[in-house]
Symmetry: C2
Subunit: 201 residues, 2 copies
């Protein structure tokens, strides 16, 4: 693709680095911004910079938070003896939408994926162990996508836990194989939490 | 969709204003940026701000340009007596990719669309008339999408021109190269029969 301007080319290149955005979509977005006043463009760029400069993470579960503890960890009415382990924020939002879960979360910040060079050391796994021991957690629930990487991550965490008095389960595979949590409808996802099944290695 | 943080919500809202981007895609892009260092995020935001502060438009054809005239208008080897009238930059890039056109362009910056509230006054149409008279243009070619809006725009411009010695044409409508007749819609196929072209071997 040849561009009439280096400035446009640079903006398209930067947009195309975002996941799911190809060069043609990026160009469409750039042309849209070109038609805008500078005000909406500044709002967009400022909100993106705020992500890096203003945002905090929950000290307990690594959820995104505007202060030290996230809303969920700070909520005394939630059951802090059950931890639902998820890949990222989108999964928390999807499960919260079902209104079926009253425990707390632990966000790994990714999933074990040798292909992408992501190992256990890149994820918030150590802090999960620490939490389980400190809080005398009674149950953990794995809520991963039904993929090889999801299964590997659940397997790895379970293998190292080998705990007494800790119930380990995984959300029911009502989720289609290969499906992402965020795209599941609330009913399927909610059902899969209710009918979670014991996790055995 | 409930967000755990106002900062994330604001970034998602801003991204979702872009064309073709829904809330879920926007969230995916925001989470991607969250995993990045601040450096790539600053590169992205700076390139977007540059679009509004650094970019110039060609004084002749309204193409995007890094200086007063765009590369095409500044090229003496191109045929300045033929003007191809298009909706936006993407059309120029698509036609340039074909290597079949050696004339110049005129970018309207949109298309007449009463539904979207876009009238002739919102487009670069007056400057097209001015160019045609000043440069003694011999031919103009409409290269619009084969839609109601495209036809309306071509009709409106032609109606006001009523010129002597000005050839007006539109890009051919017909079956795509490699396309099967049986899958073509009736209107396209009908049009391709009416505007059939002499067959030469």
């Amino acid at each position: 693709m040849e561009f009439p301007s280096k400035i446009v080319e640079e903006a398209v290149t930067q947009f195309a680095r975002l996941p799911g955005i190809g060069k043609k979509t990026a160009l469409r977005m750039v042309l849209h911004l070109l038609k805008q006043d500078i005000d909406p463009v500044q709002k967009l760029t400022q909100s993106l910079l705020n992500l890096k400069t203003e945002l905090r993470y929950c000290e307990e579960c690594h959820n995104i938070s505007d202060s030290g503890l996230c809303n969920i960890c700070a909520d005394a009415k939630r059951d802090h003896e059950i931890i639902c382990v998820v890949e990222d924020l989108r999964d928390v939002m999807a499960i919260e939408n079902t209104n079926q879960y009253r425990g707390v979360y632990h966000i790994l910040g990714g999933i074990i994926s040798p292909v992408d060079g992501i190992g256990p050391g890149d994820l918030n796994i150590e802090s999960l162990y620490e939490r389980i021991h400190r809080l005398k957690t009674k149950e953990i629930i794995f809520a991963f996508a039904a993929t090889m990487e999801g299964d590997t991550t659940a397997f790895y965490i379970t293998k190292r836990l080998q705990p007494a008095n800790l119930k380990i389960s995984s959300i029911a595979r009502g989720i289609a194989i290969g499906g992402e949590l965020e795209y599941a409808d609330e009913i399927t996802l909610g059902r899969s939490i209710i009918s979670r099944i014991p996790y055995a290695v």
